[in-house]
Symmetry: C2
Subunit: 526 residues, 2 copies
């Protein structure tokens, strides 16, 4: 039974400390954690290293979703600290969303000591295989001496355009044995420039006299890219359209307004009808979110040409500038977002009145996290003239992002109010993240649209041709027996809340939430 | 842009219905679901097929954990219905536990239509790769005509000894296109018999006059196996010891008592000290739950021989009978569980007094789900003379099983009271499962040990040699800022609850919970 058993290093820096110092030196300053035994040396190292803010999460989906929200606002990666295969597994759904958002993110996943894995202890699993589907870069640390360099490589992988998920697996003995100090982050490649032929082809399409859509995603849709795209539109008559789901859009009064490709497939097909050329700029080609019987997967109309001006990994602002020059676009014009609607003081509590209230009360600099799904389909249009703000969306369709994402966005954005527009069924996946908001005193207002159903699925049941659903099927889409009490849930996690059932009550609650520091939850009974 | 787009079948039975009918015909009568768009035809089929009970869960970890608890009690698989890769990912942590419990389980994971996958729609991911680490059998359905047979194969895979996780991926068009009716389940192999040499070797060890440990797991530890093992012990002086974590033990007054290998590594090493032979019967060799610096991975003492009488996949009862015959064991003796302690009426609320109250109040036929971790280390010993009951444990170390497992156990065990002994930090991972208990009116009493910490990690921090933890490290193990209010959380999910801080209040609350139908939660503030 001879075996190697590592000894904890008594020296000045073990592998864990070398890794934490490397992360901090590489600009990773926040760690969203849910640690276990195998990560205890990493946790202990946090007290010996200045500069890493640790944010405890009650569930790993909260940690990964928060890291996504953080990076979208901070424009640099956070780290997560997760406990072996199951801990990583719990975080995968929001890593899926982060991957679709092209968010830079560094996961540190604890693992058994290298010499312990062969004994198949109960928590053993194949972590690398679990990590791969949601990660662009996966590595298992082999020694404490190299773990700092592994961390530096992970940062470089995460920061490589357009932003990637890097997962570093940290065997316990590579944390507790002697490390070798801080490793420098390797050079991060510049974004590739779009080819001249891509610019020329887009210019030809714009010169054809036929209807052209500039389809924007990633960098191109954020803010500055829209200004250039709008100059091109002013010259050529092209239309701008954002993807259905976007990582980040900086918008509101004084910015170039943009609509998004609708989620419902029939509306999406209608929105693309008549275009002869679709130019992709940081966007991917429009496809159905799901397949539906008798409906196409590719949404562009028959005979429409789809061109790529710049991929998400390429420099989209540069490509837009070159296209603007090629078409001889004029200088930027004043954006027309139209007037902001007045706050409605009477009437029903519906999507339009709610959207108008939100539109009027969004404070300048707010960060809106949008997981409102069916309830919120009008909200984007109704807020286009609001005070300047940032809009973050669910990008990968894996529900349960809103509460974690708003948590991470708030960590990244002190002084900015975060408002999370939250569908109820989705919010229940990761409701534990409310506790982290209370623990960290984060300025997040969570507005829960309490329709007590998986409402989106009621529409989808018909869309996929499942006719005449019976009581069992309807039951599987209903959350009303018993109805959740969101104010109790919030209180259970230490967050103050209020239930509203009328328009004036909603307006009053939102005013209160916006004006009051710390987390607050509003349950809107629909 | 030509492409195949499936048409929903208008015929009498589509693929989804063929699959549901095959599951029911194969004895799979419960489906723990959290469906999405791609699973709508499966959901719709539930109304056309008698015999499948659908239990809606708010989060997929609730569904997989419930399926584990169900199968442990029903001795046959339940199915789950999960939504694409992220839905499966959310269920993986409790699938890990189920895999370690050797639980038979059939996952149905929805997927995009076969022809839609190449377009990389937002919810697309590599589901097969995600499934493999926790599944013994993975298949993606290729056509509606074959999906019934795929389901039958999944059942056979799940039921093959010792019990396995089977994951069938269901592309949406294999659900909505024309199916081919009910497929019969292929023959399920009998459990293999242990070899004669294994029996002879164990008999030689028992005849050696040296100390022998019969280490029991799986079938061997449940109930009937312990009777045979005790006959062998009566003849040979061998000691019986269960694994640290066990799928199911039927125990209490009138049954053969058994201790478990302790979790803390020093205690585990001490428990095995002095043995010269360890005979594994449905158990795996004792290994450290984690690696610790300077401590061994294999826990058996130097020079101790480890023999396998029967693997978990083999027929352990047959092997025990043959060993009993080989050593000429006497008939079964009356088990000695000793007297049941009186209910303490005064004194502090601590592990010993709480254990005594639970021991006295466990009703006959109760199912105890044990995720009590640090708080509950005495509970097993203090309940050995309780009314006959069943004990289910966290087997894979992936915390967040208790509330889901108790939910599934209750679905499988009408008329039996389920009592879930729940550590607070662990319970927060999957707290949403309380709602399913309310929705299904399940007889579950959840007792939350509210120590407001990841208490197990405080011990582990020292065990792994992380000396002098600072405030950041301690903070990462603390759940007291803010303290969770479990009664509010339960109320939020529609479950009645009570907070107790004294021994009489705890006794009164447990009496109430045991006597009252439906779910009830007791928060014990420690």
């Amino acid at each position: 039974m001879a075996e190697t058993t590592g000894e904890a290093t008594a020296g000045p820096m073990n592998g864990a400390e070398s890794l934490v110092r490397t992360l901090v030196a590489g600009g990773v300053e926040v760690c969203f954690t849910n640690p276990g035994t195998s990560e205890m040396h990493f946790v202990a190292a946090l007290d010996r290293v200045e500069g890493m803010r640790c944010v405890l999460c009650l569930f790993e989906g909260g940690a990964t979703g928060a890291a996504d929200g953080y990076a979208r606002m901070a424009d640099k990666p956070a780290s997560t600290l997760l406990h072996l295969g199951p801990g990583l597994a719990n975080g995968l759904a929001n890593l899926h969303n982060a991957r679709r958002a092209r968010t830079p993110l560094v996961n540190i996943v604890g693992e058994h000591a290298t010499y312990h894995r062969e004994y198949d202890a109960p928590l053993t699993s194949d972590i690398e295989t679990l990590a791969r589907p949601m990660s662009a870069w996966v590595r298992t640390g082999m020694s404490a001496a190299e773990i700092g360099r592994d961390g530096a490589d992970a940062i470089a992988a995460a920061r490589t355009a357009p932003g990637r998920i890097a997962t570093l697996i940290l065997p316990a003995n590579t944390a507790w044995e002697a490390g070798e100090g801080v490793a420098p982050v390797p050079p991060i490649p510049e974004r590739e420039r779009a080819g001249d032929e891509a610019v020329a082809a887009a210019a030809r399409a714009l010169a054809s006299g036929e209807p052209v859509l500039l389809h924007l995603g990633d960098q191109a849709v954020r803010g500055p890219g829209r200004v250039i795209a709008d100059r091109i539109a002013a010259k050529t008559g092209a239309k701008l359209l954002a993807m259905t789901s976007n990582s980040r859009i900086d918008r509101g009064a004084g910015t170039v307004p943009i609509e998004r490709l609708p989620y419902p497939i029939d509306e999406a097909i209608a929105a693309l009808k008549g275009f002869r050329h679709i130019v992709l700029i940081g966007a991917t080609q429009p496809v159905g979110f799901f397949a539906y019987p008798g409906k196409p997967s590719l949404l562009a109309p028959e005979g429409c040409e789809t061109l790529t001006l710049a991929t998400p990994a390429q420099d989209q602002l540069d490509a837009l500038e070159r296209l603007a020059e090629a078409v001889n676009a004029p200088p930027a014009r004043a954006p027309e977002t139209g007037p902001l609607a007045e706050i409605p003081t009477s009437g029903p509590l519906d999507q339009d009145t709610i959207g108008a209230v939100i539109g009027a009360l969004i404070p300048e600099g707010a960060v809106i996290c949008d997981e409102s799904l069916t309830t919120g389909r009008n909200f984007f249009a109704l807020t286009k003239a609001s005070a300047p703000h940032t809009w973050l969306q669910l990008t990968g369709g894996s529900i349960g992002l809103g509460i974690p994402m708003s948590t991470g966005a708030a960590v990244a954005s002190p002084g900015r109010k975060v408002i999370n527009l939250q569908a109820d069924g989705s919010g229940l996946y990761t409701v534990q993240a409310l506790w982290t908001q209370a623990r960290e005193r984060l300025d997040v207002v969570t507005i829960v649209w309490s329709n007590r159903a998986y409402a989106i699925l009621r529409g989808e049941l018909a869309n996929v041709g499942a006719r005449n659903p019976g009581p069992k099927a309807i039951g599987m889409l209903s959350l009303d027996d018993p109805a959740m009490d969101w104010v109790s849930l919030a209180r259970g996690f230490g967050v103050d809340g209020r239930r509203v059932e009328t328009l004036p009550a909603f307006t009053d609650a939102l005013r209160h939430g916006v004006a009051t520091p710390g987390p607050f939850l509003i349950e809107v009974v629909l």
